[in-house]
Symmetry: C2
Subunit: 253 residues, 2 copies
């Protein structure tokens, strides 16, 4: 079994390292990750600039391929250029910080799993719910391996991947797995206005996620209550239930 | 009625200009667009760098605000910083080139409409199916206005926007409006390997869209057959029909 690992925190991120370590004994692991942090890049791909691939060594041995692009670029380059045959599984992560609710739209971690799914590779995105530098990625990696083995055993339907969020708790305090839906949330963006040394105005974006719904079946609430959240995600965006309504707008004339 | 115009081809793009011209007599129009082309950026937002806003003049009068960021950044800045009150409608485009099938995932044009929808603004993405420099944006703009007026009249449900694709035909040859679904397609990416003057390898990405389905109800086929394609699009990505299956993976033990 060959597993492709990607992320958006960059090839030197500890979450990726922990995941590779947890998988390497049992599986063939290939790392293809951005050469620097690429958070919040969404599903950007690089068409207007050339891409480069660098071989990265760590502790005296080959670690993985760094790419001068986005997470989606990494997946495409891995499958089209680097690997001889498609991987059996793609895991994106482990991201530092949860990807729930509206974050799925912005997340580079999630976009790598979307790209894998579009290229017909069973894919999982994994995020750990903390931004602390002492994040416990090793327990999260063990959980990622458990879910990966379920995917390898049962398979995923076409066009669907799993978005996994792990609470930042010791393994013994995690309540179990919960299959969830994406919470309805949005970002209350804040732009801080500053003046640069040349006297010109610039803005820094920040934001807090606003929880529109607090349903117990959402990714957000499962995570808050100490569960590993697993959301089946698709990239077919059609709002089918609304097709006939819009048809009526035009037939009314 | 105040209409916010955004795009991903940049503030100087002719598709944006044609749209503004078609709307300005009847509506208050505010343009907030990237200061350069931002195609295929997906739903990227700019968190690691500051953003700047420039006032752009054309033909001796104020034209709009250029932003040093992505289409999603433009929408956030427009609503949080530039405008005194939320716009009644957001139109993203008119993009040069269709956004159907898998392109919705990569498109900056579509991401601006997603962002508007997340911020509760009725939103429309509009694309013209040509990359030719003599594209007829004026007819496409008239069609965009017709659809915008339907949206202002009937309203859109929460969480849904319209993705509109216009064939590059004279108005008299367009067969009408068709309400469609996103086609299932993927990109057969090709990476052209080159050597730079320093002897180092780099890759250029290109790709052709592969049509997995040829259903007559898809955006792709409607456009091919000379219809204006209108797809209702949502950003809730949960694959609900698969939740119980995954639940069974864990309860089986």
């Amino acid at each position: 079994m060959a597993i492709l690992l990607v992320n958006d925190d960059g090839i030197y991120a500890p979450g990726l390292y922990a995941l590779a370590k947890a998988l390497r004994d049992k599986y063939e692991v290939v790392i293809v990750a951005p050469d620097r942090e690429q958070s919040a890049v969404g599903h950007a791909i690089t068409l207007a600039e050339p891409l480069r691939i660098y071989e990265i060594h760590q502790d005296g041995s080959f670690y993985g391929y760094a790419v001068s692009g986005t997470p989606a670029d990494c997946v495409k380059l891995a499958i089209r250029v680097i690997l001889d045959r498609p991987p059996d599984l793609l895991i994106s992560g482990i991201n530092q910080g949860a990807n729930v609710g509206a974050s799925l739209i912005y997340s580079g971690t999630v976009s790598a799993a979307t790209e894998g799914t579009m290229l017909m590779i069973p894919s999982i995105a994994v995020s750990l719910d903390t931004h602390r530098s002492d994040a416990n990625f090793d327990d999260a990696a063990q959980i990622a391996v458990q879910i990966a083995e379920k995917v390898m055993k049962f398979g995923l339907p076409g066009g669907v991947f799993l978005n996994v969020n792990v609470p930042n708790l010791p393994m013994s305090s995690i309540k179990g797995f919960k299959i969830t839906r994406q919470a309805t949330t949005y970002f209350d963006d804040f732009f801080e206005r500053r003046i640069d040394p040349q006297g010109r105005t610039y803005y820094w974006m920040s934001g807090t996620m606003v929880e529109v719904d607090r349903g117990e079946d959402s990714d957000l609430m499962a995570l808050k209550h100490g569960y590993v959240s697993i959301t089946p995600v698709k990239y077919d965006l059609t709002a089918r239930q609304f097709i006939s309504t819009i048809e009526s707008w035009f037939s009314a004339e």
